[in-house]
């Protein structure tokens, strides 16, 4: 199981690894983005953080900012959707689906979530963000359906 060859031999697993890493990286980029907005707008969640943007601790810099909260909601939505994709996707990849079907699932999901992030951070008019969200959810449900149909053991 641990050898590289067994992973490299399976195109489905390789594509799963690739897309799982891509969407996880996308999710992780929300952290630096939050930090960027906090530093440029000088709005922090903790008193000790204010020293990063001012010479001394400054209580006035502790608060919330609409833009920061928007990025944080987007990050949380990623956690709520990308983590299930990564988990269900692994189980799905192990049920030996067709490569073309697997790639279709992975690509649509990655595209939908990247679109969702752009729509959220740039506040595009609805239902663009809702669309990205629903498409991502549907892909994960579709993979979960195949997993349950294949291995169900209650």
């Amino acid at each position: 199981m641990s050898s590289l060859s067994s992973v490299m031999d399976s195109p489905v697993l390789r594509s799963y690894f690739t897309y799982a890493t891509i969407v996880i990286l996308k999710m992780m980029l929300m952290s630096p983005l939050t930090s960027y907005f906090r530093l440029t707008r000088k709005v922090f969640a903790n008193l000790e953080d204010t020293k990063l943007a001012s010479p001394a601790l400054d209580k006035k810099l502790v608060g919330t900012d609409p833009e920061v909260e928007r990025v944080r909601r987007c990050h949380l939505n990623d956690l709520e959707n990308i983590v299930p994709f990564v988990v269900v996707g692994l189980l799905y990849a192990l049920t030996a689906p067709d490569l073309s079907a697997a790639l279709l699932h992975f690509r649509i999901f990655a595209g939908a979530r990247i679109f969702h992030t752009v729509a959220y951070v740039c506040a595009l008019p609805q239902p663009s963000r809702a669309l990205g969200f629903i498409v991502g959810l549907t892909v994960t449900f579709s993979m979960a359906y195949r997993v349950l149909r294949t291995v169900l053991l209650l």
Copy 2:
């Protein structure tokens, strides 16, 4: 590793796949539930979302609602507990436990978390929700203990 047969040959892995998918699906259902409460109570987190419930953008519809926040807290609690279960559960399933022991862990966890959700969303009197939470946590700790006892390599 990637072939269906190797997964299907192991009842423990099959039951892990089944229950991991079930609890992940349960967690994912919190998203539509949040949307449902947001749309019926007309309380949104983003200005652009208000257009989903009113003919034009309406700042008055941006805010928080106790019922929506309750569902969101339940969702976050799921993330904090179901994701560890899914991760530790996979490692646990790979340590080749007895099927009966594994099923016991998985079934109790799934039951506890479904009960937790009902207790949270319906605001059942405490300590019903605390009970669901603690039982779930205990199952995950029990699996983590077996994983560490079996494979410890620091």
Copy 3:
């Protein structure tokens, strides 16, 4: 795949299992810590929870507390960082890295996140917490880089 032997044969997988379980357990300990602060400071998120600290339901006990919110932010930050580590770490461990390189990644990450938690909960002066955060993020990016370089299939 499911047999214990195949996991036990790979020191890289064993060390991954060990450190993944450790950081997940660390993350899970934030839940009881939150409960502890809520109970000792008598600040709850739900009306029904107030009965855990008072003879009857008491609306005055529903609210937020700086210390509780601090622990919750730390917990959320764990979710945002430890979950990606666990996912990417598994893919990384399956690309058959050198044991010494893998242990280096895992140990630094575990140390950085434990330090991050101490820095957050005890409100150590910055940039101590930022350091723990950035080191952890860098480890995960380094593992993701290796995964993508090894298995890329878009």
